[in-house]
């Protein structure tokens, strides 16, 4: 069965610092890959996705992610974090090719200090 690992439960960064959130998946083929963000008390918002092609994908709010097949990773990055980025971030994978069955990681909570 496919699985998604987000090894960092909680990360704290200073405002203006760079950010990298890790995501590793376990699956034979290249799945569809997603990053979602959840602000407290809110639903999930799609940040970006990777289906194929260029391994560096750009998303909303200044986020980007890089797919590395050799490492089975899809890490999320942002060059300069803003206080409003404090939230929980979820990596998700889909191996159906239709986004009909997403498997989510357990999430990484980001705290931003001023």
């Amino acid at each position: 069965a496919q699985s998604v690992t987000q090894p960092d439960i909680h990360i704290t960064v200073s405002e203006g610092a760079s950010l990298e959130l890790r995501c590793n998946y376990s699956y034979g083929a290249t799945p569809y890959l997603f990053w979602y963000v959840q602000s407290p008390g809110q639903g999930l918002q799609l940040l970006l996705k990777y289906f194929s092609g260029d391994t560096l994908v750009q998303g909303i709010k200044g986020f980007e992610a890089e797919f590395k097949r050799s490492q089975s990773s899809f890490n999320l990055r942002k060059p300069s974090v803003h206080w409003s980025d404090a939230a929980e971030y979820f990596c998700a994978v889909d191996n159906t090719g239709t986004a009909s069955k997403l498997t989510f990681g357990t999430g990484t909570r980001l705290q931003v200090t001023l």
Partner: protein, 112 residues
């Protein structure tokens, strides 16, 4: 905004009582999903639907049933609620051709 609403948004119920959560969408999407979110587990798929009267089980379907009698509504029923079903429940849809899931605002359910 994918035009998804969930009702109720908050509910407290007692163990053993039946509970139905409603997901309503206004954009005629074919695929709809129910997830539960629990600390340390992320989101886990309960059931999903790929059309009217077409549903299938997800990862954590025990104790839950679903129905979809019309395109816009996807109902999640807990026949006899247990404390382990205390959770936040999210509905989602997939936009045709986008291969992306969009989520509703969630329903916080507490079973006492």
């Amino acid at each position: 905004d994918a035009g998804i609403t969930q009702s109720p948004r908050h509910k407290v119920t007692e163990t053993g009582t039946p509970v139905t959560l409603r997901c309503h969408q206004t954009e005629n999407h074919r695929y709809m999903y129910w997830y539960r979110q629990d600390p340390g587990h992320g989101l886990r798929l309960i059931h999903y639907s790929y059309g009217v009267k077409d549903t299938d089980k997800g990862e954590v379907s025990d104790g839950y049933s679903v129905s979809r009698s019309k395109t816009e509504d996807f109902l999640l029923t807990l026949e006899s609620a247990t404390s382990s079903q205390t959770s936040v429940y999210f509905c989602a849809i997939t936009r045709a051709g986008s291969y992306e899931q969009y989520f509703g605002p969630g329903t916080r359910l507490t079973v006492t």
